[in-house]
């Protein structure tokens, strides 16, 4: 009897411990990001205050107004055009990478051909070249072609950055679709092309969307290449623009936090929408080869 009670209390203790540990973990995961978001809504004076002000006393949108040039005191940082550049570059490169990745992923998922494993590995290895190392020759070549500081220059780079991983993911999604479905459609008179668009593409659509989000975020977040291949408002992206808030000895923390929020929000929304498919794509394509 006492033994049973004891084991029950120890069970409860264990459960409480687990809950506490998980809670602690989530705090550690969330606090760094949340603190930046919180600071975006505080005046700079409050951020710099000594002794520290823990609870915001005067929440404000001034930082956002300032960086978009809407307030009375303007910041000379063209966040608006950085945002548009980021959006155009990330969207265009994603669409192109998806088209190329779908063709490639389909080839890997549905055909047997010579050198298949080698080509797949080769694609991955080229993706592994560190951005900064790749930026040196690309910088020289792009300036010879005079596409430095253009959106086109960055789009080309991001497409190739995204193609290998997009192929990996999409290959995984196509593999999940039984081959018999498209075969049945072909028996019923569809061409392979029709079978693809009518059967396989709709079934893999959400997975392809997840691959697209991943590609979009890679371009949206990239810094090492963008920082060298862009110069001015015609092509600078948000991550590069973040550095505009740092002067030699001072940093405009409030403005930087506001800009951080602008970078994070689209990323968080997109991640939230596709997270399930993303995990499925990564593991299924990887394990059940």
């Amino acid at each position: 009897m006492s033994l049973a009670v004891e084991s029950q209390t120890s069970k409860q203790l264990k459960r409480a411990g687990l809950t506490a540990l998980t809670f602690l973990l989530m705090v550690v995961m969330c606090v760094p990001g949340l603190w930046v978001v919180l600071s975006a809504f505080r005046p700079n004076g409050e951020i710099l205050a000594k002794p520290p002000v823990w609870v915001p006393e005067a929440p404000t949108f001034d930082n956002f107004r300032k960086i978009f040039g809407l307030g009375t005191d303007q910041v000379a940082i063209p966040v608006g055009s950085y945002f548009m550049n980021s959006l155009i570059i990330a969207l265009t490169s994603t669409v192109i990478a998806l088209a190329i990745g779908m063709a490639g992923g389909y080839a890997f998922a549905r055909y047997r051909f010579r050198g298949k494993g080698g080509i797949f590995l080769g694609l991955m290895l080229f993706r592994a070249v560190p951005g900064i190392a790749l930026s040196l020759p690309v910088f020289i070549l792009w300036s010879k072609m005079s596409i430095i500081d253009t959106k086109l220059g960055l789009i080309i780079v991001y497409v190739s950055l995204n193609v290998p991983f997009t192929i990996w993911l999409i290959d995984g999604f196509f593999r999940q679709i039984p081959l018999s479905l498209s075969e049945a459609a072909q028996v019923d008179g569809c061409t392979r092309w029709q079978a693809f668009w009518k059967i396989e593409f709709p079934l893999a659509r959400s997975g392809i969307a997840a691959a697209g989000v991943f590609a979009f975020l890679t371009s949206w977040n990239e810094f090492a290449l963008a920082s060298q291949l862009t110069r001015s408002t015609t092509s600078k992206t948000l991550p590069v623009g973040l550095l505009d808030f740092t002067a030699q000895f001072t940093i405009d923390w409030a403005g930087m936090c506001a800009m951080a929020v602008i970078i994070i929000i689209p990323a968080l929304i997109l991640t939230f929408l596709v997270q399930k498919h993303l995990i499925a794509g990564l593991t299924f394509g990887g394990v059940k080869g």
Binding site: G33, F113, V129, G131, I132, N221, L242, A267, T283
Partner: protein, 300 residues
């Protein structure tokens, strides 16, 4: 029938666009940078592109402590953070697997650090570790744990520690999420059989759970190996290799030599060393992944 109309040509045609982009943006530049690494090319002197110096750049960097110290530091940094990320990720995955409520919410929260721009992560931790206004020092002072301001990003050891924390915060979730997916996919039968046969929890974990999870761990490693160089962004923002080069990693060194000192030939030689390092790393984990997959295929 011409080659491209044959059925066997289809996969190659489908792969052509991918090959072309990779050739244009990666292979051609890599060949070009291979060539430049044998010249004394300086950005400010265009003619020096044809100034062939043979292996001089390589001989110089390979005999230069200013190269080997950041090189060793990079390897040390990667060894520490990747092992910690794996262990922490495994711990988190096992923990969340035990929790019965809100698993999906927890998983969603965990995905967020993964989606942060590395440059943003760097900036964020620079903000948190700021000696004057950072939340870390403020918290320590408010709790009375420290009197003065700790110079997290100025002291060499603390700066290295802070950078490692930022990197771990950003990337642990890659491991946690993939290992958790592995735990979800794990068949129940072997676990129950082990229980019936009298295995203790450690034995069950060591001989059943862990082998099953290894392919997932290798997927995570392979994904991580594709962008370990993202640490460049974090270091650039947090310390820019300082103080006095004490947190210089291979990648920040390359940027400094190539762009700031405009010694492109030399920088390309270093970049080649770092590229080979990355490729070996990816290749190793890809091989492990394939082997683990085969092992799993045999076991099922």
């Amino acid at each position: 029938m011409p080659f491209w109309r044959r059925e066997s040509a289809t996969p190659f045609l489908l792969l052509t666009p991918a090959m072309l982009t990779m050739a244009f943006v990666v292979i051609v530049p890599l060949i070009f940078s291979m060539y430049t690494s044998f010249t004394g090319y300086r950005l400010v002197k265009p003619d020096s592109l044809y100034d062939w110096v043979g292996f001089r750049n390589y001989a110089r960097i390979l005999s230069d402590w200013d190269f080997w110290v950041p090189f060793g530091r990079t390897v040390l940094f990667l060894t520490i953070v990747l092992n910690l990320e794996f262990l922490l990720g495994l711990g988190i995955a096992l923990l969340i697997n035990r929790i019965t409520w809100g698993q999906r919410t927890l998983r969603t929260i965990m995905m967020f650090p993964m989606m942060f721009s590395p440059i943003l992560v760097g900036f964020q931790f620079k903000f948190l570790f700021n000696d004057n206004i950072g939340i870390v020092n403020n918290a320590l002072q408010s709790l009375g744990l420290s009197d003065g301001a700790i110079a997290w990003l100025v002291d060499a050891k603390l700066a290295f520690f802070s950078i490692a924390i930022a990197e771990i915060w950003m990337s642990t979730s890659v491991f946690a999420i993939l290992l958790l997916a592995g735990l979800f996919a794990m068949p129940r039968d072997p676990l129950e059989a082990a229980k019936v046969d009298g295995c203790n929890p450690w034995q069950t974990f060591r001989h059943i759970t862990l082998p099953f999870l290894m392919p997932f761990a290798y997927i995570a490693m392979a994904i991580r190996s594709l962008d370990v160089a993202r640490a460049y962004d974090i270091v650039t923002v947090m310390t820019d290799g300082g103080p006095a080069g004490r947190t210089e990693l291979l990648w920040t060194l390359i940027a400094r030599v190539g762009y700031d000192n405009s010694r492109m030939g030399m920088a390309n030689a270093m970049a080649y060393v770092s590229t080979i390092l990355s490729i070996l790393f990816t290749w190793y984990f890809y091989r492990k992944l394939v082997a683990a997959r085969r092992y799993m295929g045999g076991a099922q």
